[in-house]
Symmetry: C2
DNA sequence: CTAAAACCTCACGCCAACGTGAGAGTCAAG
DNA sequence: CTTGACTCTCACGTTGGCGTGAGGTTTTAG
């Protein structure tokens, strides 16, 4: 498929796809006239990229994880990178979970002092706390 | 205390503290000659700012949470902002947790195909998975 | 055959959270 | 009273992940 369709199906901009290629994350085929041609799997791969970006990974880190994403064989060094990145991500999640608890303390303190914001927000918050 | 000491004790740069002030997060007293004077509590406040920044909050969002941090009375609107920010943060944590699981799938697949990276990393990873 | 839509390659713009001097005033120690 | 550490205010530089034209070719629909 061409770049426009991939962009729509993966939910990113055309510019983003060209940027990913610049960063070595994608290497699409080209038609004789130079237009990019992507395969079906690329849709899911790009969505995975988006997840990684949203999780705070850099293009460099994502590039390091590519051999695994592409189902190719991985070297020992690559697998170590994978574990390292996993460690960083896990640490960030833990840190953010602590921050979330801290924010909850502020919320309950404020609500207790000055009354709850309103019931819907409260229910949303407490139900999410439970997870 | 003066800016240099606060910077050391809170673990940030002097520049960062002046930037926080620019963003309306800090309003230190001034000596007649213009030097900034901070209180003891500011150390913890700045550390909290760092946590919030690390969690992906912007200066604007943090500024919105300030009335609560400062133990002052909060309005209904402010408490709603607080709940909203909490929601965003909770969503990010959830999203990142999913991404972490996805990364684990890649890791186990790679390790299964080509052998584990090495035992220490593996133990570190799996123990963190359990939490 | 033609016009619109989609594609191409530069290449500059943007935003946030600071880093990094420049040039000058201020404060504690000897 | 000097020196050196610390502070002040501009104000421009940096990094990442794209946005946004400019100017030109290619593909597709009618």
């Amino acid at each position: 498929m061409k770049i426009g369709e991939l962009a729509r199906r993966a939910g990113v901009s055309v510019r983003a796809l060209r940027y990913y290629e610049e960063q070595g994350l994608l290497s699409p085929e080209r038609t004789p006239s130079g237009q990019r041609l992507y395969t079906e799997e690329t849709v899911e791969v790009v969505r995975l990229f988006q997840r990684f970006y949203a999780a705070g990974l850099s293009s460099r880190s994502i590039a390091a994880l590519l051999p695994c994403v592409n189902h190719g064989r991985t070297t020992v060094a690559q697998r170590r990178m994978l574990h390292t990145e996993r460690g960083h991500l896990a640490a960030r999640v833990e840190e953010m979970t602590h921050t979330l608890r801290r924010l909850d303390q502020l919320i309950t303190a404020a609500d207790h002092r000055d009354g709850p914001a309103h019931s819907h927000s409260l229910r949303t918050a407490t139900s999410t706390v439970a997870s």
